[in-house]
Amino acid sequence: MNLSRHLLLATFLCPLACAGDLDDELGGDAVEPPAEGRVGPHTTSEPRDGGGQRSTVDASDEVLWVYFDLETGTELDVEDPGENLQWDLAFRRFHIATNGGVSGNAGSEVALLPDPFDDVSGIPDSGFVVDEADGDDDNEDPDYAFRDWYDYSFMTHVLTPRSQTYVVLTGSGNAFKVALEHYYDEAGTSGFPAVAWAAL
């Protein structure tokens, strides 16, 4: 094999090698191929046009959280979210928690990028935050890292996702990009966030 063929092969293999390297670098577990269809009592997933997955969560309950594991692409039954290190995102109505900060102990961090989901391909160097205790604002909820994912119309009470993307570093060390696409299901019921996500 001459040198040029080695260079050509290295060029094609580089992306694969780099992906593997990142996974190792973060020290995370392997990301399983995402499941399709019903992936939990409250969650369905399907491949998303343009890449990644779209998981729709029935988070309409006013009290109960729905826990989701990005690594397996499935909903988890979590009894103690503080002890459980597997879940990555949790949904209740329009609230989205991550397994870090005041919400969990897995050490998840989140960075907000102003770019549309399909334009995000890398991990930012900085800007990562965690769910924090309620700060100086008008509500009594924790200051979730995902707290600004929507625009709310005071006139129509309609909640519209912003065109932006979150990068989630899970407690397992994997990186995912996450964006909210809808808050209402096909029948117009609120509390059904549709989440686009993909491994980075």
């Binding site: 109505r93 029948a187 117009g188 019921t189």
Partner: protein, 645 residues
């Protein structure tokens, strides 16, 4: 003919000088005016403003009357259609049904009475006037200005008294059917019998419409479909002497259906089934110089509401509401020289059971005493001081005084002035509502700490009667409302669930001028009116939404008895109305003015024999209206036939 008119008109049978303005006097007949008016003859006698009978033009407080003949001329099928083209009246179509604004104030500030008694069923502040079928109405009296002095709460802007119909002839029967656009069908029947000491009637009606939609680009409908039937009876027994017993009862059931589409994409099929029972019983006694009457009444409004979300059951909702009002009112009127003293006691009990209030059942009682002196110190001067003291089990004591006077500088002039206080007690819903609209994303909570709204109102008017066939009047009004109940944002920080509540934080005023004129020349009757209304929020300085500063009406009626022909054409011109809409998405409301519009209606009726009348008509000939700020019924055609015996 209402029992009150009967009794109080009997008071008027006391000797009186012809043409005098003595309260309760009847100058044009030497027969028992009570019995005569009870027979339903076309006399302009009014009773609502003072609880005593007066010729319309001699009433100390100006009263508009829509009598049986006018109701028939308009072809109206319900009370709203009778009133909607009246001078100074603006129809308000909302979630609670269709009510009217008087003098720039919302329907919740107008008291609705049936035969002088309060009725239940205010939804979002409105008693739906379409629920009162025209075949049961003898006449409607509209009194503008505060009426709390005699009737208690809610009579700030005015009082509408629907006076039920009684048999006018020994034997009478009426069958009526009409059909029109939107598959609107009305079928009514009525029989009546009158003897010297007994009068009875029985009527029933069936009404149907498929509804209408002013904007077919959305799934929402604008006017709901409706199916209604009602049955009613009126009975009166009179003794040979002083005593009489009068009763009225009605049952109505209506089912309406519509479609609502939300901005979230949710679509709902909405069904309301409303039932009402209205009943009253009035024993009375009269003598030459006085009368006593007691009216016991009961009014039930039941509403079953279902909201069925298309494609999901997540937001399906149902609600069952029972609103009961029982009322007992005793009134004593006595003539003492140049005074007629009217005193009374009133007790009201209201119970509301509904799924959307917390607690699920609430009740309250009101007890009141009232007194009014109609004093005629001079033949050309009437002075009416009056006061009512209400004790409300929730709010305590509320006095509502009023002073009114009428001056007749000549036979052709009537000058009237009044100044009085009114109050509106918060509704149970305003106090105890607990409603979460998860589909839209808000919650409304009642406020048990609310207090009544109060108002001080001034009225000044001049009426000129140059000839028997002409009348011109001009009136100025000024209402100042304090502690108005407004919906306030309690918490909007929750993003997807804004919390609203009620609070006594508003102040408002409504002032303006109402003018009208009517002329009758041979077979032609012409009338017109102009109203200027300036209603504003005193805190923000902004005009109250939906009110037209300028509104005018004009009408012509051609009636030639020898031909049996009646042609009626009416128009109402409504100027721009202020609305507040977030036009640029910044969550700040910007004021916009709706376009002015004019409605035009025409109706031609022809009697073929003494008993048969056929008619055709067109409403909203100009086909104005839209689904957002002006939900008028589109152009509609109708025709019908009435057989009367």
């Amino acid at each position: 003919m209402t029992p009150s008119l009967l009794i109080l008109a009997a008071l008027a049978a006391a000797p009186a000088d012809a043409g005098s303005t003595r309260p309760g006097s009847e100058s044009e007949t030497d027969t028992n005016p009570a019995f005569e008016t009870f027979e339903g003859e076309s006399r302009d006698v009014v009773v609502t403003a003072t609880r005593t009978a007066h010729e319309k033009n001699d009433a100390p407080i100006s009263t508009d009357v829509f009598d049986r003949q006018m109701i028939q001329d308009t072809g109206a099928e319900n009370a709203l259609e009778v009133l909607e083209e009246a001078p100074g009246v603006q129809v308000d179509r909302g979630v609670g049904g269709s009510g009217i604004r008087l003098q720039g104030l919302d329907p919740k500030y107008t008291l609705i009475l049936v035969d002088g008694q309060r009725v239940s069923g205010r939804v979002d502040g409105t008693i739906d006037l379409t629920r009162f079928p025209a075949e049961d109405i003898e006449r409607i009296e509209v009194v503008r200005g505060p009426g709390s002095v005699l009737y208690g709460a809610d009579a700030l802007a005015g009082t509408i008294n629907i006076i039920t119909r009684r048999a006018a002839k020994r034997w009478e029967g009426e069958a009526h059917s009409s059909y029109g656009s939107f598959k609107t069908l009305d079928v009514t029947g009525r029989v009546g019998h009158r003897r010297k000491r007994y009068t009875g009637s029985l009527s029933a009606g069936l009404h149907n419409t498929d509804g209408w939609d002013a904007d077919r680009s959305t799934e929402s409908t604008t006017g709901p479909s409706a199916r209604q039937f009602e049955v009613s009876t009126g009975q009166r027994f009179a003794s040979k002497g002083l005593f009489a017993l009068d009763g009225w009862a009605q049952y109505m059931r209506r089912t309406t259906r519509g479609v609502d589409a939300l901005n979230t994409g949710a679509v709902f099929d909405r069904v309301n089934r409303s039932e009402t029972i209205t009943a009253n019983l009035t024993p009375s006694a009269t003598c030459d110089d006085g009368s006593f009457r007691f009216t016991g009444s009961y009014s039930l409004f039941r509403d079953q509401f279902f909201n069925d979300q298309r494609g999901s059951a997540a937001l399906d909702a149902s609600q069952d509401t029972f609103d009961h009002i029982a009322q007992g009112t005793a009134t004593l009127s006595q003539r003492v020289e140049e005074h007629v003293l009217t005193t009374g006691v009133d007790a009201q009990f209201e119970v509301l059971s509904a799924d959307r209030i917390d607690p699920g059942t609430v009740d309250r009682q009101r007890y009141a005493v009232f007194a009014q002196d109609e004093w005629v110190p001079l033949e050309a001067l009437s002075i009416l001081p009056g006061v009512r003291l209400d004790y409300d089990s929730m709010f305590g004591l509320y006095p509502t005084p009023r002073i009114a006077m009428m001056l007749r500088p000549g036979e052709r002039w009537r000058l009237r002035a009044s100044y009085g206080r009114g109050y509106r007690a918060p509704t149970f819903r305003e106090m105890y509502l607990l409603f979460t609209n998860a589909g839209v994303g808000y919650q409304v909570r009642g406020n048990p700490s609310l207090q009544p709204e109060t108002s001080w109102s001034t009225h000044v008017s001049a009426q000129f009667l140059p000839w028997r066939w002409a009348s011109v009047s001009v009136a100025a009004f000024d209402h100042r409302l304090q502690d108005t109940v407004v919906i306030d944002t309690l918490d909007d920080s929750d993003g997807a669930l804004t919390l609203f509540g009620y609070a006594n934080i508003g102040n408002a005023e409504s002032r303006g001028i109402e003018s009208s004129a009517s002329f009758e020349v041979g077979p032609l009757t012409l009338d017109g009116s102009y109203t200027f209304t300036h209603a504003r929020d005193l805190d923000s300085g902004l005009a109250l939404p939906g009110r037209a500063r300028h509104r005018g009406t004009a009408g012509a009626r051609f009636h030639r008895p020898s031909w049996g022909t009646t042609l009626r054409v009416r128009t109402a011109i409504t100027g721009p109305r202020a609305f507040y809409v977030d036009t640029d998405g910044d969550d700040v409301l910007e004021p916009i003015d709706s376009s002015p519009y004019a409605t035009l209606d025409a109706r031609l009726a022809q009697t073929f024999t003494r008993y048969v009348e056929a008619y055709v008509g067109v409403d909203n000939i100009l086909d104005v209206g839209n689904a957002t700020d002006n939900p008028l019924v589109p152009r509609s055609y109708y025709g019908g036939i009435t057989v009367r015996y």
